[in-house]
């Protein structure tokens, strides 16, 4: 486990990286959203994560858990609408799993708590063309990689990010069943879900930052994480 000061630094770097990325992708996300939503996803999330990054940038006092919670609470107040509770509220709530800071085990617990909260808050199941479609394969892959395959955290995160990308692609041919896109009914088919897309972008940045802070592991390319060979569930004899 890396020390608390390093964890703090990594969390702040992650918030900054996500804010920069969403700023860069603002138009892209807004274009996706204008096809099936109300065209504000990119600007709302970019503004929210910038405020969240600013809220923690000079914080050398708080614990890693408190920093993550601050990011969530800031997103709640800055993003608003449904995305504030979904992204920010879920981070705030899931931060309860980080009592002992950031470890491989607590990261799995955080990811699971975040997914559960998003599903619960949005009342969305897999296949409804929402961020859940990117998150679910990512979280499941992360958990299996850590707990079953006992892969190094960075490798697990790379696999999870690749799984999120597949989840984003999976949203394209689906008919939206939640959120404003659901009102379009069949017309939503053929469009990529903006929430799933931003979720994947966020994961790519987390992977990139993790790569900087977790030494001694394989280098990964966050923009196109290599999916390591599937590890057999049973040990080969």
């Amino acid at each position: 486990m890396v020390d608390e000061a390093t964890q703090r630094e990594a969390i702040r770097a992650a918030a900054e990286a996500v804010a920069d990325r969403l700023e860069d992708e603002k138009t892209h996300l807004t274009d996706l959203d204008s096809a099936i939503g109300d065209a504000d996803h990119g600007s709302n999330l970019a503004r929210g994560f910038r405020a969240a990054a600013d809220a923690v940038v000079d914080d050398d006092e708080s614990t890693p858990q408190e920093l993550v919670k601050t990011i969530g609470v800031t997103l709640i107040s800055e993003v608003g609408g449904a995305s504030g509770p979904l992204y920010g509220g879920s981070i705030m709530s899931a931060s309860a799993t980080l009592d002992d800071g950031l470890t491989a085990e607590s990261s799995v617990a955080f990811a699971e708590a975040y997914l559960e909260k998003v599903k619960d808050r949005g009342d969305a199941q897999l296949g409804a063309k929402t961020m859940v479609d990117a998150l679910t394969p990512a979280v499941h892959t992360f958990k299996k990689s850590i707990e079953v395959d006992e892969l190094p955290p960075l490798t697990a995160l790379a696999k999870a990010t690749a799984a999120a990308e597949r989840g984003v692609e999976y949203t394209v041919p689906l008919r939206a069943q939640k959120g404003r896109a659901s009102f379009l009914g069949w017309r939503s088919v053929g469009h990529q879900d903006p929430g799933a897309t931003s979720t994947w972008f966020i994961m790519q940045e987390l992977l990139d930052v993790a790569d900087d802070y977790l030494d001694g592991e394989v280098d990964v390319d966050a923009s196109s994480p290599t999916i390591p060979e599937e590890t057999p569930d049973e040990e080969e004899s």
Binding site: G80, L86, S182
Partner: protein, 331 residues
């Protein structure tokens, strides 16, 4: 479109400032928020009753703050949910230690932000419960909602929850009567014109001069059908029949009714609707215990109205006729 505003960006802020200036002894605005609370909040020994949602529905929500009704109301931007952090500040400001009941209208943004605010308040050890009003019988899912929308029937829920809390009942009891009211109320609305939001400055939807939209929501969301203009009696018949079909009441059932104006309808027309409404419920063998007519849950400047019917028993009647002293309603 002409509007009495200075700047679309400052509509909510300036509205709240003006409201505060009109009721300085009764209301207080929480610093750096769009939250209004009773001047004496939290009221010692009493469960707090709070509500909130997008602006544009005045006198809902802050107009119902006062003795016997709400302790606090959060105003979002026009037709936009308040953020959860502001809702949380409201909840904490209205908690005397007895807990807080949030009365939420069923819109995805409102429900999610209230739920998140409830979690934030629970972290500070506030006992928070939430009831969701879904009285609109017109559509099952809509632009902003899964399930039925919450509309004018919300006012009755504010009233009974507020009265129960004023009696000194605990949070569980207050929640129970609020849900009892929700289970017994149904509403349906009609629009003759679209509303005009301040930032857009033009009608939200196109509605030709000779057509009306039945089953309209309070944000100009589409309703069930668009028809040629009809007479007041025909419109009242259509709305009321749908409401009564949903409630499925026994003959002789006592009811309370509400003819609610959408903001741009003269009182005279609301009374014309009420005249017919009372004829219809009478024809159905229902017994009107009380009839409210006025602008309670508006949609900016929309011309139109909604009709609400609720079955009442002795308990709900006692709570509905209990004293209330608020800017928009005195009982």
């Amino acid at each position: 479109m002409k509007k009495l505003i200075n700047d679309p960006e400052t509509v909510v802020d300036e509205m709240l400032e003006g409201m505060l200036a009109a009721y300085p002894g009764e209301l207080r605005r929480l610093d750096d928020t769009e939250v209004m609370v009773r001047a004496d909040a939290p009221v010692s020994g009493k469960v707090g009753i709070v509500s909130g949602g997008g602006s544009g529905h005045e006198p809902t929500h802050a107009g119902f703050i006062g003795d016997g009704m709400l302790d606090g109301a959060a105003a979002g931007e026009v037709f936009t949910s308040p953020t959860a952090d502001q809702l949380n500040e409201m909840i904490e400001a209205c908690d005397s230690g007895e807990g807080v009941l949030c009365v939420v209208k069923n819109y995805e943004g409102d429900v999610m932000n209230f739920e998140t605010a409830g979690e934030m308040a629970e972290m500070e050890d506030v006992d928070v419960r939430q009831v969701v009003v879904n009285d609109d019988v017109a559509v099952e899912d809509s632009l902003y909602t899964s399930g039925r929308r919450g509309v004018a029937g919300t006012i009755f829920v504010h009233k009974v929850a507020g009265a129960k809390a004023a009696e000194g009942a605990d949070l569980e009891e207050v929640e129970r009567v609020a849900n009892k009211m929700i289970d017994n109320v149904a509403t349906m609305g009609v629009a003759l014109t679209s509303c005009v939001t301040p930032d857009k400055g033009e009608p939200t939807f196109d509605l030709p001069d000779d057509e009306i939209e039945l089953g309209i929501g309070i944000h100009g969301e589409p309703g069930t059908e668009r028809t040629d203009m009809m007479s007041a009696d025909e419109i009242t018949d259509h709305l009321t029949e749908n409401v009564l079909e949903d409630l499925d009441l026994d003959e002789g059932q006592e009811i309370i009714t509400m003819v609610n104006g959408m903001g741009g309808t003269p009182q005279s027309e609301l009374f014309i609707l009420n005249r017919r409404l009372q004829e219809i419920v009478d024809d159905h063998g229902l017994d009107t215990w009380d009839a409210w007519v006025g602008d309670y849950m508006t949609s900016l400047d929309m011309m139109g109205a909604s009709i609400t019917v609720a079955a009442v028993d002795d308990e709900l009647k006692d709570l509905l006729e209990a004293p209330a002293d608020t800017p928009a309603l005195t009982v």
